[in-house]
Symmetry: C2
Subunit: 322 residues, 2 copies
């Protein structure tokens, strides 16, 4: 994993992924107590940053391998990213999703042309299903985060942040990133190390699922006690990745942890102040900037809103916080 | 009014207004039956395109005049645009708003540092209030649409559309613009005439308030029978402007008219598919592209989402359409 892989990913994504803007609002600045900048990856194709990594993974595959098709496990955003990237490359995609994934994510993945196979989280082994299908059809697994070309694709978001921060005259700041397995977090961290060393990445997670924050603190990989039962479904993973964690350990500042209620309130502020739809797991970085301001230093803070794939009923809960 | 005024406005707005992206979604394409492109001015400062015209109006004023301050009448989006533009120029702003304006728009205008004066639409004469204050304090009126420098500022949105369409290889298309008094519509039309003559502007309005569509049809200025009682408050005006109408008559194609229910459904689609918050009056162009496809020709259609300042209760009504 190195910066050259991220730069190569940026070339592959040129004209394919969207360059998302860097947004701000005086009202958010006031709550945060400093200038707050939002990188809205909810505006990326398929409604989350996951398209970047998925597209780069497919684009960098050997053509003969890619032609046989790809397979992915995902509760939703990675699924949609892989589905669209496969469609753009004209190859089949099989996506294995928990049966209790948000309805919108299940429907979108199928509508993007992927074959969706659901499984019961409690009684079925998704790895077994995946291995059987891969063997039968010669499919290549696209991992959601612990995969160099996926990390490189997510890192292109960091290249954009570096350039956009420079345009705003921001030389030092914490860059808070919504963190599940650490693909986006480690990718952005590598990009900033090379392009904007005054910007430091800090992962944000929901309380009770703060495996990365605890791992950074202890110095070794820590696991979550549970892997479900939180509205931030997009960033709930058992533990940080074997590739992503050493990068985060070397480059990231301390993790930030917020409650579900704070994630919902941050969704409400994103609606109200910057007119963006954030999903709960994608609002934890904004929540940290708004409601953990005492744990942040400096005149500027940058946050990712990493996705916007949220069902109307959940969004109504966010509106109710206003 | 000419293209040089719009180009001059673009120079004044450089680094002050946001260059909004051009977004799309395969799901919206499918409903529209063609490629659908969204220009999201809800992501502009203050949550609507109005900031462009307001900033340009203030920036192009004589400095001695500007220093005394500005005054504006507005139910909300123009108010916020003028308030922020005045704050950025360090001059006072007085905004006269109907007492029944959306709560968010009233609060935001005051929070942006303007002095907000409310009046009762039924019993008070806003012009009389405005003239008295202007005379007392030497304030300069910034009209919401029928003012050349305001139209020139809104036209900068059209310069961006021309460039972004060219980047996507779009040479001919209808550009549907949410239309009240016609400031944005005529400004974009002038910009496209010069920069992208294959793109034709068409105004979109709510049923029962289609003064511009009827005026374009009859060739003379037609009035609405009423000026309230529609959820699309941002684009309800008595009639097209004396400056804007001749421009629209010369350059625009036929108007498109949608129902309140269709505007709400389009807000739901904007939430679901491109993760944007649209207010009702800013969703009529998208609604026309989605639900009046038979009145549109060509492989591409471009629409503005002109603002996103909507109260949570109204947004909940849009979510309920999904």
């Amino acid at each position: 994993m190195n910066i050259e892989m991220i730069r190569a990913a940026a070339q592959r994504l040129e004209g394919q992924a969207r360059r998302t803007p860097l947004l701000s609002s005086p009202f958010l600045d006031e709550i945060a107590g400093r200038r707050l900048w939002v990188k809205p990856e909810c505006l990326q194709h398929t409604g989350s940053f996951k398209f970047r990594g998925a597209y780069n993974a497919l684009a960098s595959m050997d053509e003969q391998v890619r032609k046989r098709g790809v397979i992915a496990f995902s509760s939703g955003n990675h699924a949609q990213g892989v589905a669209l990237a496969a469609r753009m490359h004209g190859v089949p995609a099989v996506i294995i999703m928990p049966a209790d994934s948000p309805a919108l994510k299940l429907a979108n993945t199928a509508d993007l042309g992927a074959e969706v196979i659901t499984y019961d989280r409690a009684t079925e082994d998704r790895d077994e299903i995946g291995e059987r299908l891969s063997a039968e059809r010669g499919l290549t697994l696209v991992k959601p985060f612990d995969e160099p070309q996926v990390i490189a694709g997510q890192g292109t978001c960091g290249l954009e942040i570096a350039q956009q921060a420079a345009e705003q005259g921001i030389e030092t700041a914490d860059v808070i990133v919504c963190c599940g397995g650490g693909g986006l977090t480690s990718g952005i961290a590598l990009a900033l190390e090379a392009e904007a060393p005054g910007l430091r990445v800090r992962p944000a997670e929901p309380a009770g699922f703060d495996d990365v924050a605890r791992s950074l603190q202890s110095g070794g990989i820590e696991r979550n006690a549970q892997t479900s039962g939180n509205i931030c479904d997009a960033i709930i993973t058992p533990q940080p990745g074997n590739i992503t964690f050493p990068i985060m350990k070397r480059l990231c500042g301390p993790g930030l942890v917020v409650t579900e209620e704070e994630a919902l309130a941050a969704m409400g502020q994103a609606f109200n102040r910057i007119k963006l739809v954030a999903e709960p797991g994608a609002a934890v970085a904004l929540a940290a900037a708004l409601y953990r301001a005492d744990q942040i230093a400096g005149e500027d803070v940058i946050v990712t809103i990493s996705g916007g794939n949220v069902d109307p009923a959940m969004f109504a809960r966010a509106l109710a916080t206003l």
